[in-house]
Amino acid sequence: MGNKQTTFTDEQLEAFQDCTFFTRKEILRLHGRYRELAPHLVPLDYTNGPDIRVPLALIVTMPELKENPFRDRIVETFSEDGEGNQSFNDFVDMFSVLCEASPRELKTIYAFKIYDYNRDNFICKEDLHQTLVKLTKGELSAEEVSLVCDKVIEEADLDGDAKLSFSDFENMISKAPDFLSNFHIRI
């Protein structure tokens, strides 16, 4: 099985396989990708679990994330400190949730977190505003943006509080045909 690697102990690899959707080989490959972001920072030997964090600015240079308008939010959501500095655990977690085998419910939860810019557990009009501007690169006029945000709240808000709670979001996303195929990063 090619047990020559010294990056992780076997228990660590087994633990990662239990906690993510990745196979052994993929986890090792992920570590390689993590390391090449900051080779001088990230050690090759992870057997004693060093507490190293790679900053946001380096992670968003990855080709998988570089073109994504929400890359900053994604990395922030999956970082423990909320600033985007990811340890290897966070890194693996991020790609595991966004992989193809990850179930719909899990992806919905994290999608909600990603689009919730102010982290108040509600997607309010401001959050929608920011999402839309990022998505259209500022090509829509202010009134068009406002109109779209109002329409979104009108469509998806069920309890009438002018913002989307998680259950509103979940109800809307569960019926979306493209969600699973689009909310997917292949690593």
């Binding site: 994504n68 899990l106 999608a111 998505l135 259209t136 809307m172 045909p177 689009n182 909310f183 997917h184």
Partner: protein, 771 residues
């Protein structure tokens, strides 16, 4: 520490906890926790399980329990290793990722489908090769030993020519690729392998396996949800949250995507604000009917053309091979592939008349291409059947001739040498008179069809995409208008056309595999080269789509098509197995009356007697009819229950929607929009029509006290409002009074004429008064 003295109850509780911990470990990866938390919980749970599984192992039955635990652990480890192995074996991950990052998920879905097909064909090839071809090659008679395995004397001098081989005649025809090569010995080799039985079972088993795999994939896809919303219910929400394709990694594609998302938003905004334009419905209808008529004509025309060409090829077959040009020899396949190439763009052009929304237009286009392919395939089959019947006639004649010649030989021999022990005629295999062997003929037709289809597809890509891209790129420097922006510009990858082509290709493989075992191997090669060739073509010659429209909400659309094609390809094969007699001198079923007789033979000779009895009973019509009836009843029952569930589902949805609307309206203090509620309100008595209440005898004091006590609560909210806040009133089943109650409830139905709800006492007193 005192595990021995644990009671039964404690054991049970402990067992449950251990099971729970195990379940936690299994579902840990689906929990939305931080990785650190997951790792901590994992360690805890594993330690718990380790510790207490040992404890549970004590007491009675511990050896069995310990064994079970060990086996489960081994099984989990084995499954994990197998999963790792399977994932490592998946080919072309890098390639598909590259296509995804440049073109998005929709184009890549074609390549994922192609890869899936490749896997399926690989397994089918494994069956065919391992169970049919390999035994015949290794344990059967070699080439040249018997008549069916040898090139006839007449053809021998051209048998090695490239043109002959390319037509799958010559040495190709008399090889293990086709049906005719296989010998009909019941058992071959040292292992006593029953080849004819294996051939039949593999031929049918291919369909069974494909069906199982397709249905399993459909079931897995259907779990993805995405259903239950009406059209336009969440347009803006979905556009905002699900339109960005996270797979995109290429800057140009990203720019494209931004532009298309912006356009899509603008369109939706305009649709929101504008009313529907006034269209001329009649003109539109007329144009649509005209378009459909034209398309039907072209479909009919293509069917007729194929029939005509196949008939002509039968005439060509009578003539001498050398006098025919390449075009005449391959006319049928050429025409079919050409039609498959020319008609779809023709349909698209005609469809411009119809002016549908792009998604609906795509559906129509797919339906028409499907009809085209289906019609072509079945016309081809019918024409082929005519040919087969002609060959069967010829065969009868040759068979009679052969029997007659054999009898003559025996008669001559016995009259010459005067013995009864006559050795078989000593004829070289190449000189034996052969029957036409219709199965091999059919196999050859299918193989030629697949090959020409492949050639046309590759040529199309080369010319339609590559040459076009080269011309646009290099001629742009010296052309009057901008070739890249205007006509012809770079091509977009036609997802639906390619997927349909793949589906129908597979249909032809399923049909032809029974007559040409080598066809599946050929298809594997074809899919392999397709993958590399099309990946290269799409990356170098195509541009990403401007607007992407999916043909349907669910991924099961193309799987459903594949299933349909599977059934349609099953029909001809089953028909030939059941009704047509096999050739008398070629193939594994030669000498039998019908092909399935080998199964009967095996049951009689190889299996124990009682199984034969079971089969005789099972094929009794008296048993089959009730079985069929039972199945029909079961279908009907399942259909009714399913309809019932659907109805219950709809009712629940409606109830939930109603509850939500009520909540919303209550919050916003709006009147109820619920029609039922409105109707109920309209049914309440209209107080303005009632005369002013008169003073009557007072009802018993308790009632007064009660009513007075109740009213302040409800009245406080309304104050002077004379109207009923309907939701509250009706739901609380409150009293009727609409105004503030400051005195005891007066007479109900005070006027003599209004007899509603009067109490006997009042009646009496009133009766007294009015009298």
């Amino acid at each position: 520490s005192d595990e021995e003295s644990m009671s039964e109850g404690e054991m049970e509780a402990l067992k449950e906890e251990v099971e729970e911990k195990k379940k936690l470990i299994a579902t840990l990866r689906t929990k939305p926790w931080r990785m650190k938390r997951r790792l901590v919980h994992l360690k805890e749970a594993q330690e718990f399980v380790e510790r207490f599984e040992g404890a549970l192992g004590k007491g009675k039955g511990r050896k069995w329990y310990a064994y079970k635990v060990m086996m489960t652990k081994k099984l989990i480890k084995f499954k994990r290793d197998f999963e790792n192995f399977k994932t490592a074996c998946i080919p072309w991950e890098r390639k598909i990722k590259e296509v995804e990052s440049h073109f998005g998920s929709s184009v890549a879905s074609y390549f994922i489908f192609l890869r899936w097909m490749y896997g399926l064909n690989l397994v089918l090839f494994g069956f065919m090769f391992g169970l049919v071809m390999l035994p015949e090659i290794l344990m059967g008679l070699p080439y040249g030993s018997i008549a069916r395995k040898t090139v006839p004397r007449a053809e021998q001098d051209t048998a090695m020519d490239f043109s002959v081989l390319f037509d799958f005649n010559g040495y190709c025809k008399y090889s293990f690729i086709f049906y005719g090569y296989y010998n009909n010995d019941r058992m071959v080799g040292v292992l006593k392998f029953r080849l004819p039985l294996s051939y039949l079972l593999v031929g049918v088993g291919i369909f069974g396996y494909s069906l199982m795999v397709v249905v399993r994939t459909m079931a897995r896809n259907s779990n993805e949800g995405g259903e239950g919303a009406e059209e336009g219910e969440f347009t803006f929400s979905w556009k905002m949250f699900t339109s960005w394709d996270y797979l995109i990694g290429n800057p140009e594609t990203a720019d494209n995507k931004y532009a298309s998302i912006t356009t899509s938003f603008k369109e939706s905004i305009v649709d929101e604000q504008e009313n529907q334009k006034d269209e001329n419905i009649h003109l539109r209808r007329f144009l649509r009917v005209l378009a459909n008529f034209m398309i039907l004509c072209s479909l009919g025309g293509s069917g007729f053309l194929i029939y005509y060409v196949v008939k002509r090829s039968q005439d060509f077959a009578e003539m001498d091979n050398k006098e025919l040009s390449w075009l005449e020899k391959n006319e049928v396949e050429f025409v079919m592939s050409l039609l498959g190439l020319v008609c779809p763009p023709l349909f698209e052009t005609i469809a411009e008349l119809e002016d549908y929304h792009p998604r609906i237009a795509l559906k129509w286009q797919l339906g028409r291409i499907f009809a085209l392919f289906l019609g072509n395939l079945y016309t081809f089959l019918f024409a082929l059947f005519d040919e087969v019947n002609a060959k069967l006639e010829k065969e009868k004649v040759i068979k009679n001739e052969t029997i007659w010649a054999l009898n003559e030989y025996y008669a001559n021999y016995s009259s010459f040498h005067n013995t009864t022990d006559i050795p078989p005629p000593n004829v070289h295999p190449a000189d034996v008179v052969r029957g036409p062997c219709w199965e091999t003929g059919v196999g050859i037709e299918f193989v030629k069809l697949i090959v020409s289809d492949m050639q046309v597809t590759y040529l199309t890509i080369l010319i339609g995409d590559f040459a076009r891209a080269v011309i646009v790129r290099f001629l742009n420097y010296c052309w009057c208008w901008d070739l890249e922006a205007g006509f012809p510009s770079y091509g977009e990858f036609d997802i639906s056309g390619n997927v349909l082509g793949l589906v129908f290709n597979q249909g032809m493989i399923w049909m032809g595999a029974f007559y040409a075992p080598g066809l599946v191997g050929l298809n594997v090669l074809r899919l392999l080269t397709s993958m590399y060739y099309q990946c290269w073509a799409v990356m170098s010659c195509n541009v990403p789509h401007e607007r992407v429209f999916k043909a349907s909400r669910s991924n099961n659309f193309y799987m459903g098509l594949l299933l349909l094609v599977l059934f349609l390809s099953l029909l001809p094969v089953v028909y030939t197995i059941m009704t047509l007699p096999p050739s008398f001198d070629c193939g594994p079923f030669s000498g039998q009356e019908k092909m399935y007789d080998v199964v009967m033979e095996t049951i009689e000779n190889d299996l124990p007697a009682f199984i034969g009895n079971i089969f005789t009973y099972a094929t009794n019509p008296g048993l089959i009819m009730p079985a069929v009836l039972l199945m029909i009843l079961a279908l009907y029952y399942l259909n009714t229950t399913s309809k019932g569930y659907q109805q219950a589902n709809l009712d629940l949805k409606r109830k939930m929607q109603m509850a939500r609307d009520e909540e919303k309206n209550r919050r916003n203090n709006k009147d109820s929009t619920n029609q039922v509620m409105k109707d109920l309100e309209a049914l309440l008595p209209d107080r303005s029509l009632a005369p002013p209440p008169e003073e009557e005898e007072e009802p018993p004091p308790e009632v007064v006290v009660e009513k007075v006590a109740k009213s302040p609560k409800t009245k406080k909210k309304k104050g002077e409002k004379g109207e009923v806040d309907l939701q509250k009133e009706v739901s609380l089943a409150a009293e009727n009074p609409k105004g503030p109650v400051t005195r005891a409830p007066g007479s109900r139905g005070a006027p003599a004429g209004n007899a509603k709800g009067t109490q006997p006492g009042k009646e009496r007193s009133r009766g007294g008064a009015s009298k």
